[in-house]
Symmetry: C2
Amino acid sequence: MKIELEQVSPHEIEKRSFEIITEELNGRTFPEDQELVVKRCIHTSADFDYADNLCFSEHAVAKGIEAIREGACIVTDTQMARSGINKKVLARHGGEALCFMSDEDVAARAKETGSTRAAACMEKAAELDKKLIIAVGNAPTALVRLYELIGEGKIKPALIIGVPVGFVNVVQSKELIMQTNIPYIVARGRKGGSNIAACICNALLYMMDQDRGY
Amino acid sequence: MKIELEQVSPHEIEKRSFEIITEELNGRTFPEDQELVVKRCIHTSADFDYADNLCFSEHAVAKGIEAIREGACIVTDTQMARSGINKKVLARHGGEALCFMSDEDVAARAKETGSTRAAACMEKAAELDKKLIIAVGNAPTALVRLYELIGEGKIKPALIIGVPVGFVNVVQSKELIMQTNIPYIVARGRKGGSNIAACICNALLYMMDQDRGY
């Protein structure tokens, strides 16, 4: 079988990808602030389900961007999500990407409380005296603990990116977050992932970078 | 709305997830060596498309495991994929996970040749005097260059994990790899990702770890 490659120069690949995504969305429109987030998630996963499952609280994108502009740090629940975030652009605004999953005190805390390390990470985040965006791409237990900490008044993130993936309490953990009064971007249902968490963070960073007026 | 959480202890979550995946696969069976790879990809993405799109060359899983046992290194095309690989288990067998995407010589080489950094990474990998597994989760340009290097006799990986994601030459790059005589695990079509690349590596590592007889 002869395989024909499309001739696209390296710096045009992303642009061409977004054109294909737009074509295949077949005229479907999104609120202007949400469009790039939705399309980047589809770009990252080749999964058009993100056109339907992403839920945004009011002005979530603007609030996330404002927080980054004010130097917010992004706390992730996996090293993989942290690794995927464009930390150079984030640093330009004074923020950094943090993940506590490999920290010894987090392992000890999880063991002590019979919880997961991801949940213990949220407790550690609650002890930081910083403006925070929490990006959960893996562990629903992190989102559930975050929900409890919010209820106890121990943490008040500027934005929650709630996109854990999987089969046990994933759906529920996202619904809990959507019941708080904290701004959120959530992928309703089972889907998500560390790649999606990083991708949503990058969508916000790139909107700022491109001076799109947010 | 009252949200009911399923009561599952931290160390049972993965087991319970795999039970749900097995249930929803509804009696569908896979070759024994491929089953864990397929289920881990579904576990990582909550996307049952991986039950259909994963393609394995003959004995690909056994060949990958043999390579790791012989100390093979895993070269990825993103830091994110490298970050997701269980490097402790890999190190137990003498291997390490490598990603050259942030290397200055790779950036220079890409600029010089008008190619992508991901393609330049494959050239750098071809210069290593090591047994290699190449895991591509992002850039089809890496797979295309890898295909060319194989044709030129410059690299002969023990296994290719070919799961780039996206819209431009992604489908084609995977078909090219499946035309080589190199063992492969490929997610046919557009889907894949750094998370999927890491997940397939970990599936191999965990099969070895659990002494499943490979």
